[in-house]
């Protein structure tokens, strides 16, 4: 690893020294422990961190969260902010194909004793209400007018149509809809891909889990979030489906032309970009915001389906079941946000690709009930492992533009996982050894998502907290999983 000089700043923070000979404008900062750092180096992700550091208008550093792994253009687990007034860029590669892939956590008044003897039956019942899986179609057919309103209105549109409650929207990032969305910038192909997929889970690592609160680390915060021991939590991990994927594909092409036009040399085509306030930059932002609104509406609809299923299963209302949103986050997004840059508040474009916003106390963007303690950060574990709810911190605000990890990155290729692991054996073992019920249509898809294929989520969370970017609030243990 002689190409880069890496300096240890602390046990959990490392600096890739700025090297102007390879075009780096800022250093790289990696939040990691020594062991994970070695893996990151071996994987070649440092090249990607350095490539991002070379992009125009980048401020402070090219950040890598503890779950960093090799991606397209930007690494996954990458965070970078750009100054629009210094020719700062926006790049679809810094967001990812699944725009607003994210997670919603919902509290309930159910406790473990209410479900532990019927979890298999309950999961099977719920699964019939959740459109999912590979190429799965949803229950909602969108007209062109509906689509335009959804792309502008996001989760608020969905709530107005009766999918879930309007009061929940407050507990989503950006109040459930991203400003600046312009449906005119969404292609016909993207619309067609999204038309039948609203309210569907999707595949790969997307899931719906029924979890139990396993451990409380910060009682003051968990009280404010309405979480307590043995409580049943519903967690939904999904994104903007085919519409978002197509927006990314469409705008990579736009940005490739734009990079040439603006004389921006990029070492990787997936880093194609344009100045934020250029016509191309504005168009991508407008389209990305639409896709984010789709993603947030998607999770709103999925929450509605699972609430309805649980109402029918328990033969009572969702109000009596106490089902309500704790928070909803996106971990693939770029946003114009105000941050302190050398003591001056400034609007910058923060790209988080496989990274989560982790705002500290006092931010006006947070719901009033949470503002004084900070943002809940929902970190989904991979299948069969813990998930966490963390708290954003002042340190995150000072150091990483209020950002932290998003989950556990992959360690093992999909093809290797399928060769080494049997999906049906995995399903059986999760049930017999951990009491976790898994509902999945594709056994090879299940094998790809085996816990061994991912880094250890507990280490990722531990490093994030030891680095000061977040604080643990609760740990959640899965009881039932519906896989896309």
């Amino acid at each position: 690893m002689d190409k880069y000089m890496i300096t240890k700043l602390s046990d959990y923070k490392w600096k890739v020294e700025r090297d102007t000979s390879i075009g780096m404008n800022v250093p790289g900062i990696i939040y990691s422990d020594k062991k994970l750092l070695e893996h990151t180096i071996k994987e070649g992700a440092i090249d990607q961190i350095a490539n991002v550091a070379a992009l125009p208008g980048i401020i402070k550093a090219s950040f890598a969260m503890p779950d960093i792994h090799f991606g397209y253009g930007f690494p996954i687990g990458g965070v970078a902010a750009f100054d629009p007034e210094a020719d700062g860029i926006i790049s679809p590669g810094g967001v990812g194909f699944d725009i607003s892939c994210g997670v919603r956590a919902m509290r309930s008044s159910l406790e473990i004793d209410d479900i532990k003897n019927r979890i298999e039956d309950m999961m099977s019942f719920i699964s019939f209400s959740i459109p999912r899986g590979l190429g799965g179609k949803g229950k909602i057919d969108l007209s062109k007018k509906d689509m335009d309103r959804l792309l502008s209105g996001g989760a608020g549109w969905a709530a107005d149509r009766g999918y879930g409650h309007k009061e929940e929207i407050e507990y989503m990032e950006e109040g459930g809809h991203m400003e600046g969305a312009d449906p005119a910038y969404i292609s016909e192909t993207a619309r067609k891909r999204g038309a039948r997929q609203l309210g569907t889970l999707g595949s790969g690592n997307h899931f719906l889990e029924i979890q139990v609160v396993d451990k409380i680390y910060d009682r003051a915060a968990s009280d404010i979030f309405g979480i307590y021991e043995n409580q049943i939590i519903v967690m939904i991990h999904s994104g903007s489906r085919g519409l978002g994927h197509q927006v990314c594909s469409d705008y990579i092409k736009v940005m490739q032309k734009a990079s040439e036009k603006y004389g921006i040399k990029v070492p990787d085509r997936q880093l194609a970009c344009a100045p934020i306030y250029s016509p191309e930059g504005k168009r991508y932002y407008g389209a990305m915001a639409c896709a984010a609104n789709y993603g947030m509406a998607n999770r709103q609809c999925l929450a509605h389906w699972v609430s309805g299923a649980m109402e029918r299963y328990f033969k009572t209302s969702s109000e009596r079941l106490g089902l309500s949103t704790i928070y909803d986050i996106s971990h693939n997004i770029a946003r114009l946000e105000e941050h302190d840059i050398d003591g001056i508040p400034k609007k910058v474009c923060v790209h988080r690709k496989g990274a989560t916003r982790a705002y500290g106390p006092g931010r006006p963007e947070l719901p009033p009930a949470y503002r004084h303690i900070g943002q809940p950060v929902i970190i989904p574990g991979d299948m069969g492992t813990y998930s966490y709810i963390l708290l954003g911190t002042e340190t995150a605000m000072k150091e990483s533009f209020g950002s932290v990890c998003h989950g556990a990155g992959r360690m093992m290729s999909r093809s290797k996982a399928k060769k080494m692991i049997s999906g049906s054996e995995l399903k059986k073992n999760l049930k017999t050894e951990k009491g976790i019920i898994v509902i999945a249509d594709s056994m090879s898809g299940l094998a790809e998502e085996a816990p061994e294929a991912y880094k250890d989520i507990n280490s990722i969370v531990e490093i994030s907290c030891m680095a000061g970017l977040s604080k643990k609030v609760v740990r959640l243990r899965p009881m039932g999983v519906i896989k896309g």
Binding site: H69, Y72, L134, G135, T189, R193, S203, H245, S249, E448
Partner: protein, 148 residues
């Protein structure tokens, strides 16, 4: 490379294939076959429904045309509910006006859990995308990564 004209290569998080062809047309056919083989087992798919495709782009780069071709095939899968198993490219041309492709593709409709879908591909990517002529072997060779 296997006799199918494509093969999966190890990738840490997504799906990567290499593919070849004696001509550019065969190369593109094998890329389509490779992509759909990652989606499902094509041995059970009957080529009953035929579709004619014409594509035209401003760029004269084979890589750019390849991505557009594969995106179009994915569109038929996701929006038109087609599993495609046969790819017959009539002609690919490159000149100063750009690139053009005409083809006939065929397959069958998905539905009623008829096909066991192995991977849901989100998109073909430009990352490490390459098309090269191997003059020694008289073959065109390509590599592409699909985001899943």
């Amino acid at each position: 490379m296997k006799s199918t004209g494509f093969e999966e290569i190890e990738h840490p998080s997504d799906i990567r294939i290499k593919f070849n062809g004696k001509t550019m047309e065969e190369l593109f056919e094998n890329a389509g076959l490779g992509m759909f083989s990652m989606i499902t087992d094509l041995s059970r798919v009957k080529a009953v429904k035929k579709i004619k495709i014409s594509l035209s782009i401003e760029s004269s780069s084979p890589e750019d045309l390849l991505v557009i071709w594969l995106e179009k095939l994915l569109y038929y899968f996701e929006v038109e509910d087609m599993i495609l198993s046969r790819f017959n490219i009539k002609k690919i041309t490159f000149d100063n006006n750009g690139a053009r492709l005409s083809a006939e593709i065929s397959g069958e409709k998905t539905g009623d859990n008829k096909h066991n879908i192995i991977n849901m591909i989100k998109a073909p990517t430009y990352h490490l995308l390459s098309i090269r002529e191997n003059k020694k072997k008289h073959l065109w060779e390509g590599k592409i990564i699909f985001d899943v």
